[in-house]
Symmetry: C2
Subunit: 361 residues, 2 copies
Amino acid sequence: MAETRIRFGILGCANIARKVSRAMLLSPNITISAIGSRSLEKATAFASENHFPESAKVYGSYGAVLDDPDVDAVYVPLPTSLHLQWAVVAAQKKKHVLLEKPVALNVGELDTILAACEASGVQFMDATMWMHHPRTAEMKKLLLDEQRFGQLKSVHSLYTVAPDDDFMKNDIRVKPDLDSLGALGDAGWYTIRAILWANDYELPKTVTAFADPVYNESGVILSCGASLNWKKDGKVATFYCSFLSNLCTDIVALGSKGNFRVHDFIIPYNEKVGSFYAVANTKWIELALGSDPVPSEFKITIDVPQEALMVQEFGRLVEGVRNGEAKPDKKWPVISRKTQLVIDAVVASIKSGFVPVEVIY
Amino acid sequence: MAETRIRFGILGCANIARKVSRAMLLSPNITISAIGSRSLEKATAFASENHFPESAKVYGSYGAVLDDPDVDAVYVPLPTSLHLQWAVVAAQKKKHVLLEKPVALNVGELDTILAACEASGVQFMDATMWMHHPRTAEMKKLLLDEQRFGQLKSVHSLYTVAPDDDFMKNDIRVKPDLDSLGALGDAGWYTIRAILWANDYELPKTVTAFADPVYNESGVILSCGASLNWKKDGKVATFYCSFLSNLCTDIVALGSKGNFRVHDFIIPYNEKVGSFYAVANTKWIELALGSDPVPSEFKITIDVPQEALMVQEFGRLVEGVRNGEAKPDKKWPVISRKTQLVIDAVVASIKSGFVPVEVIY
């Protein structure tokens, strides 16, 4: 029987690649066939420590992975400043591209990457893992429920985290030459995606950054936020992201008839159970001494981690393309591009003194 | 033994006065000695329906309550447009003033009221009831806890409610001649107070309204929001208030080392138990498959409603003044004035096209 698994090559030994490698090994339609690092020694150690299959090849460069005919797809967790170069080469070499977020330093770079993927007919997807948790689909059902949610009025999303001193000094996400978008590109990516997701990917008309982001001494954003506006029925959204506050990952979505809250939307507290809290048609009780009903907890249990669901979905799309049954799915690149457009608008609003910036697809 | 209870007169038969009357009747240091309405019939029915003591007098005007020597203090739940007139007269007649929120249409009006109170030596307090719930004090302890919370970085507060059609057509809070601040004055008051409370009443330097508030056909705000900025370590806050979304009353306060959330901060779901959720020093577990610790629920049980705690506190302050033991407490008028200043700044920012507006005490 022919191997039907999608064979992944991994570019670099980023910390996040440990988690995604594990997810690949838990996925029946995926195998890891290669890893490349600028250091062969690091790649060898990474493959061993992360229980790669014996058959997995280890390379001392990224290019060697892309030249390997036994690689169908690459997972790219490199620093953002390297995405343009390596994602484009990967696409040119006909490798499908699973790209870590933030996907690019700006939408111009992303467009170059997406054009390369389109020209080669390969699938593109960003690695926004929480999108693939079944909880996310359950919350989307609620968002679309006329009786339990009604019309979406506003979304408020937060991702703050207080990494350790080593991260704040040495992580790629605080280095201007590696991930110059800092907390906006990392934490902010998720919160902006959450807002777009709740709005069925309708882009806001304007984005207005909150005044006075915090920067590190190299000028990389450590905290910022913005309000987003659709110029339609007063619908608004806000996000706030930070590397300076204790962990909080929240979405609150407010509808005319109901609302829901989730407090661990990016990485569930517990890998096997994801909760959210929803309520609809709330009324004050007599004399407004309380309200009824109170929010209910909804628990969604999963057998496989959200990252495994992500690579499995990517694998299915790649499989369809490989078999000639389907063209690359346009949904994922479009969603990535919209997320990047909002990030770019936040940057533009900050640079222009926190004025509203138009967002045009 | 002389009567030591503080004798309240109530101006008008507002719905909220039913709840506050109940609170007065539950308070050992308070009694209701009079109610006045433009309709004697309504006042009589109100006194009866709300179990006023036999001794309570019923008047067909507000002025009669203020002329009653058996009234020490007045509770004023009149439409906001009437606060200036009646709160000033009350103060001039040496009645202590418990004033419903929003306290005035703008800070100029409030200053006139506060000057009248000061000239007469009477206590002023606004009726922001959740301030008096012991949960609020517990959360404040947390805010001040260097180990469990650290430095406050941001606060995000929401109050949305979807009242019935009758409210949306007929309530004073949607009438330009009665409560022209609409949802901002009502729901927004609480969220702004929450932000100031969390910031130990340090006023923000600037307030920037979110674009495109929603108005009713009379031009009264039905939903709006703003970001607030302290120009200090990037500290920010946001609030959003609305009469167009299902009930949600949230505070999320994010500190460098910990955070807390409360989802029913204005009126607890359950009058006898108030919860909040806090966590500190959260770390990712191995491979970031989850985080630890997870937020804990803190439950605060109370015997008497928060509105009773409010009138009791007001009664204690009035008692001190009446006995000549104390001067009127400045804390409460100062907090009211700061809240009103932020509301005024939101209005100014909206009127000037959503630009940042400076807030000066």
